[in-house]
């Protein structure tokens, strides 16, 4: 017969403990969980990301309702436990539920510490602790303008940043003169303050709040120095206190928190406690890593396994405010018996300090660049002797500083590498050795390490290198996707040699793992097939990514954007009127000029697309596809006093010639009328720059995430030569590029010399041009095709709403 385990508190520490018990002893317990909040277990650390708008509430759920179901756990969410009868061994809730137990875990967490100020009960005074608080902030920001956060620590600053994102004016009140004084020294605190002021936060430092003003709703604060600050919302974020009232009432020994020994046992048999509600050796922790360490100890204990017990934790903190990187760990303040190594660069906004006592690193503060954080934290925890190489810790040396591999080697197996998900080094090593993980992503899929904040990715990469060796990481042959181990070249060769003309054939003949492929290989195969067999391969609409299938760009809300073709960016009053009329008729919410000199109509409903295209009666601008996007032009010799050639006519000709063609990735062009290069041709996939008496053709540029300036391909004399070289270059890219590989990456992969050699001879260029022209001759305007073909047009309509009876 199974024993009955009850967990009080459905939060990160308690549920983590249950997860570990399920792993260690899956059949030992029937489990019941109580939680006050009506939500499944979520990642409270990520609440600031929800507030900052980087994640929504569903993104931060750790254990979904399904998880409880699958593990046969009875969950009472929204029910607060009011009492434990430790004699009869029964837990009861306010709502009257009673559950008997053999073992019970109290993991009630903490409560926000609310200053007992006069007026603290007014409307608009809240804490920052749970989903409900976030929701209150969202609501308040819609109606009110001015927020004051009391508390300039970690939590307060994260709340303040979130409120700024909600477009509120935010002032932070802090009793200390230094922000985050629990984690930062003065130098770091001042740099942090400057950075946050630039982001728009106001600071009232060294102020103590005396009274909260207002009638029913808060209107402001008064400080002990007599000054006042107006406020529509006050968020108290000064700290937390263990939530132990229920435990105390049930006769369990408490001090500042629920008292436990090294095995998380309270003074009453069979009653255990973990998490923020606990006081262990005089310390209550408010960070996730130590709580998971406690949970691990308790899980082993309850599963009946040996454990050395919990001996307390060294903690590190990271601030999660966008654009500001702060790391702090251990004893970071200077003392008579410590010495520190500091690096400070106020221009680069970087500050690093390592505190050393008796030859050991005991603390660190990093601001601006926290890449050393994991390494320093490991040094603090290992307590290794650094005598004689103190400076090298921060400044580096000729190789005598401890390598990452040494640090990983010195970590014990149960040391946590991912604090968010409580994954130990040992668990990562096991995943590598037993489940064949060879990349950080594999590890993430197997263990969830690095799946939450991602801060431990470098550390996990180090563990991988340590276990597999530098060559072992990702040495497995990678195919074009998870469905095959074949490379791009092998796939294309197969398509050519075996004359395969459909994706289905390719996947059958070449032994795909998944019978119908995946979202990565299906569009790629469709492209390769069309490139190799332009006449025999029928384009597979079901393999096209949504934008290319619907010939419009899907937006995050499921609406689309429409960009009509405007060759060379040169338009007419008639076309502009037409576009304006359509925008008015279909109540287009946003009209924007794009970076490529086109007009973008955003927020269009899918059902409206075909009739809009009919009314526009212009070709598709292909702003959505892996194809020629736009040819951007400057005015050129037509009007410009510096122009040497007619760049507009050249651009229009190029766009008309090469539009609609599928390419491995999007392809952007530009034509500038003189070397002043106003059309920015030198960051395009292909850019043409006019010079006196000729044209330069530049290739392989990119203005996106990774800016790359073009390389000069060739200088030519005539317009015909520009078109010939452009056609040959594009076709060579089409025939050798990997799907989704922009020309900038492609050029670096195959080499400029290889490309030049392939295009050098006139006969080679003409052969390439002949092939590109064949492919071009088979294209037609997709908008027109859809509008005129009933079968295609109906795919844009919803099925009729059924009649109900």
């Amino acid at each position: 017969m199974k024993k009955k385990l009850v967990l009080i508190g459905n939060g990160m520490a308690g549920v983590n403990c249950i997860e570990q018990i399920l792993k260690l002893a899956p059949n030992r317990y029937d489990i019941t969980i109580f939680g006050s909040e009506p939500h499944p277990n979520y990642n409270r650390i990520m609440l600031s990301s929800v507030l900052a708008g980087d994640a929504d509430i569903n993104d931060i759920v750790i254990n979904s309702w399904d998880w409880y179901r699958e593990n046969n756990i009875i969950i009472h969410a929204g029910h607060t436990v009011s009492n434990i009868d430790t004699k009869r061994k029964i837990v009861s809730t306010e709502s009257g539920i009673q559950v008997p137990y053999d073992d019970v875990i109290i993991a009630t967490g903490s409560l926000p510490f609310m200053l007992p100020l006069p007026g603290a009960d007014k409307k608009g005074v809240i804490a920052f602790r749970d989903i409900k608080d976030c929701e209150t902030m969202f609501e308040t920001a819609k109606k009110y303008k001015k927020a004051v956060v009391i508390g300039g620590g970690l939590l307060g600053l994260e709340a303040a940043r979130g409120l700024l994102n909600l477009n509120m004016e935010v002032s932070v009140v802090h009793s200390n003169k230094i922000l985050m004084n629990r984690q930062m020294d003065e130098t770091g605190g001042i740099m942090l303050q400057k950075e946050l002021q630039q982001q728009g936060m106001k600071f009232l430092l060294g102020k103590n709040t005396e009274k909260i003003l207002g009638k029913e709703r808060v209107t402001g604060l008064r400080f002990s120095d007599g000054s006042e600050e107006s406020a529509d919302l006050v968020v108290m974020a000064i700290g937390i206190k263990p939530n132990m009232a229920m435990a105390k009432k049930s006769g369990i020994e408490v001090n500042r928190g629920i008292l436990v020994n090294d095995f998380m046992e309270t003074n009453i048999p069979n009653v255990y406690s973990v998490g923020e509600c606990v006081e262990h050796r005089g310390i209550s922790y408010g960070l996730v890593a130590p709580l998971y360490e406690q949970a691990a100890v308790l899980a082993k204990k309850l599963a009946g396994l040996e454990t050395e017990g919990y001996h307390g934790s060294v903690v590190s903190t990271k601030l999660k405010v966008s654009g500001v990187d702060v790391f702090s760990a251990g004893q970071f303040l200077d003392n008579v018996d410590t010495r520190a190594v500091r690096v400070q660069d106020e221009f680069g906004g970087v500050y690093k300090k390592v505190v050393i006592r008796g030859g050991k690193v005991v603390g660190a503060v990093l601001f601006g660049d926290i890449s050393d954080g994991a390494r320093l934290f490991a040094m603090i925890r290992s307590g290794e002797d650094v005598t004689g190489k103190e400076k090298e810790i921060l400044l580096g040396s000729g190789g005598s500083a401890p390598s990452n591999a040494d640090l990983i080697a010195s970590m014990s197996d149960d040391e946590i590498v991912c604090g968010c998900n409580g994954v130990s080094k040992g668990a990562v090593v096991t995943a590598i050795n037993e489940k064949g993980c060879t990349s950080v992503n594999d590890i993430k899929a197997c263990t969830k390490a690095s799946a939450s904040c991602g801060g431990c990715k470098p550390l996990i990469a180090d563990v991988l290198t340590y276990v597999l060796g530098a060559d072992g990481v990702k040495t497995v042959k990678e195919g074009i996707c998870g469905c095959t181990t074949l490379s791009r070249d092998e796939v294309v060769e197969g398509i050519r040699e075996m004359k395969l003309t459909t994706s289905k054939e390719v996947m059958n003949v070449m032994g795909w793992n998944n019978p119908e492929g995946c979202s990565k290989c299906r569009p790629a195969l469709n492209y390769y097939l069309g490139m190799v067999w332009p006449e025999d391969h029928e384009d597979e609409r079901e393999s096209r990514f949504v934008n290319e299938r619907n010939h419009a760009n899907i937006q995050k809300d499921g609406t689309y954007s429409v960009v009509p073709r405007i060759y060379g960016g040169v338009t007419t009053p008639q076309d502009l009127k037409k576009i304006a009329d359509v925008a008015v008729k279909y109540e287009v919410p946003l009209v924007k000029i794009t970076g490529g000199q086109r007009i973008d109509l955003l927020g269009v409903k899918k059902e409206d697309l075909p009739s809009m295209w009919t009314d526009l009666d212009m070709p598709s601008g292909y702003a959505y596809g892996k194809t020629l996007r736009t040819v951007k032009t400057c005015v050129g010799s037509t009007f410009c006093r510096f122009g040497t050639q007619d760049s507009m006519a050249m651009g229009i000709e190029m766009e008309k010639r090469f539009e609609r063609l599928s390419t491995p990735a999007k392809f952007k062009m530009a034509v500038s009328g003189c070397p002043r290069n106003c059309a920015e041709a030198t960051i395009k996939d292909l850019g043409v720059v006019a010079i006196d008496g000729g044209w330069e053709i530049h290739v392989g540029g990119n203005g996106g995430t990774k800016v790359r300036v073009t390389d000069l391909l060739v200088k030519v004399k005539t317009e015909e030569e520009v078109l010939e070289w452009t056609g040959a270059y594009m076709q060579y890219y089409r025939e050798t590029g990997k799907y989704n590989e922009r020309t900038a990456e492609w050029l670096e992969r195959v080499g400029l010399d290889t490309i030049k050699a392939a295009l050098e001879k006139k006969e080679d260029r003409l052969a390439l041009v002949e092939r590109i022209e064949l492919a071009l001759s088979l294209t037609q305007d997709p908008w027109k095709e859809i509008v005129e073909t009933d079968k295609l047009r109906t795919t844009f309509e919803n099925l009729p709403i059924p009649t109900m009876n």
């Binding site: 899929a445 995946c518 609409r541 949504v546 919803n798 709403i801």
Partner: protein
Amino acid sequence: MKQVKIGHISEIESMRSRVIFVGDLEIALFKLSNGEIKAIENKCPHKAGKLSEGIVCDHHVFCPLHDWKIDLNDGKVQDPDEGCVVSFKVEADAESGDLILYVEEKAYQAS
């Protein structure tokens, strides 16, 4: 459970999807390559992406926004992501080819 006639099997192309509104529900109907019809709520649990616009591979669909993979049989999100969308029972009448959707009464009475 209420049975609702929602259209004809020929109205959906193979490996593609059509959308239908039933009361407050927005449902994506998929036709798999073997001709089977599947129905799930048209809303990815991640960022509410329109699943009807995803690429269909055997009995899975990939969300067009961030490539989450969802099983069309039970609505389950596949590893390494987690979650679930509501799935609905749908049948094609063997003779007429009419599509019958099974929904809870309260789901459409809301409208």
